[in-house]
Symmetry: C2
Subunit: 506 residues, 2 copies
């Protein structure tokens, strides 16, 4: 049995935790228990389920000081950021409690028996039902909000599913500590043992995707790991949906008018956005389309100045820092690319910001993978364009993404086509703002066309994230006493329902 190792990326210090990498037998046992627990969870009233979610939020906040300290030790993200992230994480559980109480996610629909041009139609009622056991792969970059107590876990529990989480190796102690807080809440609510489980280790992760009890997977992480697990999910005897959020080199466009009106301000903000969390955001703007000429020069000058002032930062792990250096080197080696900000003295988990520049014509004619793909870390590529036409060509050579940001000026003639282009390229369009923040809300969509996510219609943040863990079931001619409460003739749950084609609120 291999013990799990926790590393402090700032100091390189390692410590051996009191847990071990999960064996294949461990994974089997957890999944079997989760399968039994899922039946129990699915049968619980919505009010019980929302209370469980609020209980988890409370327990996470109760342990906040300890959790933040452990996470800072493992991630070097800093106490202020981690304090905010834990607040967001607790909020996310409470938000999904509201989504559960609201009940619209059940999509309850009732058609009474009727005549139709196709002849008589029987009574038919439909609602969404939980899938069962959900496997979750936490990401490295948000040790709370996208990890063990993250959005995938919260939305899957909200859907009435049991969850088996594979801990990210960059913060195993944080994972274990969060899991302990969540388990307290689950026990207090009377949830069946196995409703939430935690496993460790690469092999255990593969076993999780292949476990027969697992009905769906939520994943946040790299393209390479995500693609490999997606293929395993498809290669199963019973393939399962794999909701992978794999990141992207999110484009950001600054029009000539925007640059001329406030180029310096945008440049400074952009440097901040691309280095937020040491550039380790899946929504980091990585491709900046900036006009040629003096207005654009002012944008770039402000970026360069801000980036040069930042100094050395600590990344999440030496492995991630090493990928960052390799990716930056590949950009630098692409013909036509010049280095605006770059350093040779990065080592171990330490990194300094990097910024590269390339002409739009060059980008469009030879855009290699290094320029199009996401490079995790504080690095970006500035693409300079001479005209809206050249910008349009260059954008056609950028990959689909999670986000697409557009900075415009007053009455900007380029606003309209850029917003349309952005909507065609990405899951979220941001006007005159930075994409790095991803609010938990009813209208959030955090997902985008392949390769940014494996299921472009799905989101991993916001109310709709719950839909990934549900499938509809229709009940034909089933009498009231045998129907699930959401579909009984009396609206006992007081939820929105569509009845005979007409939406009703409650």
């Amino acid at each position: 049995m291999n013990p799990v190792i926790s590393t402090n990326p700032a100091t390189g210090a390692v410590r051996t935790l009191d847990v071990f990498e999960s064996s294949a037998e461990d994974v089997r046992r957890h999944c079997a228990a989760a399968h039994v627990a899922a039946d129990d969870l699915a049968r619980r009233p919505l009010a019980w389920r929302s209370a469980l979610l609020r209980g988890i939020a409370d327990e996470l906040e109760r342990d906040a000081t300890v959790l933040i300290a452990i996470a800072d030790d493992e991630t070097a993200l800093g106490v202020p950021r981690l304090t905010g992230e834990l607040r967001r994480t607790a909020y996310q559980f409470r938000f999904f409690a509201n989504v559960v109480d609201d009940g619209a996610f059940l999509d309850a629909t009732i058609d009474h028996a009727t005549d139709s041009p196709m002849g008589p139609l029987p009574d038919l009622r439909r609602m969404r039902t939980p899938l069962g056991v959900v496997g979750v792969f936490g990401s490295s970059n948000f040790p709370f909000a996208f990890s063990v107590p993250g959005g995938d876990t919260a939305s899957a529990l909200a859907a009435g599913c049991a969850v088996v989480v594979k801990a990210h190796p960059a913060h195993p102690a944080t994972s274990a500590a969060c899991f302990e807080a969540m388990t307290r809440a689950a026990r207090a609510s009377g949830a069946a043992d196995g409703s939430i489980a935690l496993i460790f280790g690469l092999d255990a992760g593969v076993a999780l995707v292949e476990a027969p009890e697992v009905a769906a997977v939520g994943f946040t992480g790299s393209v390479a790991a995500g693609r490999a697990l997606w293929e395993r999910a498809n290669a199963r005897t019973t393939p399962i949906p794999f909701f992978g959020e794999l990141g992207a080199a999110n484009p950001l466009v600054i029009t000539e008018l925007a640059a001329s009106e406030r180029g310096g301000e945008i440049g400074t903000g952009l440097a901040g956005s691309m280095t937020l969390g040491v550039g380790q955001f899946c929504t980091k703007p990585g491709l900046h389309f900036v006009p040629s000429g003096p207005s654009g020069d002012a944008v770039v000058a402000a970026m360069v100045e801000t980036l040069n002032d930042l100094g050395s930062m600590t990344m999440l792990s030496t492995g991630i820092a090493s990928h960052f250096r390799d990716g930056s080197a590949a950009i630098e080696a692409t013909p036509g690319v010049t280095t605006l900000v770059g350093h040779d003295h990065d080592d171990d988990a330490h990194a300094t910001a990097r910024l590269y520049e390339v002409g739009a014509a060059h980008f469009a004619s030879s855009a290699g993978a290094a320029l199009r793909d996401e490079c995790f870390g504080p690095v970006a590529v500035v693409v300079r364009f001479d005209s809206p036409g050249q910008l349009r060509d260059a954008l056609a050579h950028s990959d689909p993404a999670l986000t697409f940001s557009v900075f415009t000026g007053d009455d900007d003639p380029d606003g309209s086509w850029l917003v349309a282009t952005a909507a065609a390229h990405a899951g979220r369009v941001i006007l005159n703002g930075f994409p790095t923040g991803v609010g938990v809300s009813w209208s959030m969509h955090h997902g985008g066309p392949w390769p940014s996510t494996t299921v472009p219609a799905a989101t991993s943040v916001g109310a709709s994230a719950i839909e990934r863990w549900l499938r509809p079931v229709a009940y034909q001619s089933v009498p009231d006493e045998l129907l699930p409460p959401a579909l009984r003739e009396d609206n006992v749950l007081a939820i929105p329902r569509r009845i005979d084609g007409v939406m009703t609120l409650r």
Copy 2:
């Protein structure tokens, strides 16, 4: 160039049509035109889109007499059935016109800028946007309702997508004639050329799944063909969603109480349901769980009597009839199986009903693929059980399915657990009725866990079928004049929207 051949399965007569199998270049051309047309379709107002759908319904009905005659010649399904199916097909277009007018399918959601426990949140609005070009593979068994003018085409056009349909080789003349009527409607509405296209041939179908312009595929057909195309969709450089409805051996349970109260009546009805359309329904009940003893014997006796009276029927093609004979032979060869109804004199496209019986203990212990899988055609397997416990074991060995039917008696103690089991196994649960009819309605769900469909959460019939062809886009801080009409501050489209967390009707 290979000309397309139309075959009359009843007589074996063949005729050469005035169309050719589509070349790779044809497919490329159609997909390129569809890509341009999709942009136009996506920009059209909802009212224009619903008028297009109603126009298609009208044109199909205008040609009804001719269409039904051509289809009867190619499918031998008979004029009454085809008349009903064409009526359903026209109704389906009008139903999706209503779904478009209703506007709820856009899932429009608005969160105004606000403060939150995570800090200030910007204005964020989300709606669903069409995917672009949809490839559709029509099925053999419904030459109208699940083919060229079928539910996939109707729902994709309703979503604002362009459609390229691959004609089924069992009814190419019907496909061409339907396409002509639809094209008239599309032209009359001013739709761009390429909004709807039709291609012929196996190779063209593969090219369609692999065409870079195609953003999603709808498929209704066999497990073998569906799995092969699903794999191609996943193997693309940019994988695309593949919504395959592959059919199932839909279980049907008759409890002891139901059999004792009205066994003969159920048996007669069941024989009719399993042979409806010569058993060529994806919802055909193929696995009948019937109690041992005299009550169950009465069910079986009624089935046998009805099936023996049916005589020879014509299947859709010699190929399908040959598969039916092979599948029946595999069931017959399974150890423990006895033949209740069976004939040796089937030939060409002609078939007679077949019924087999096996004990529940035997089914559970050795259920081979032949007993679990769908066998297309007028054949079913009766599984006899001695007790509810033995029934439960046997059901655990049946595969997930599109439908699961349960016949119960008065105050039946087995009703509750059987409905729960059914909901866990299938996409539609039918109580005291047969699963073969699939009404077009708001609450229909026609889909089920793998292997019955490739995307268990998706339906190919009913209002929700439109959701397959859409993905959400969120707009952050985008001013009113740059927002799509559905998301503007004024509810100009008068559609249901969720605003600041609260559902509003219009």
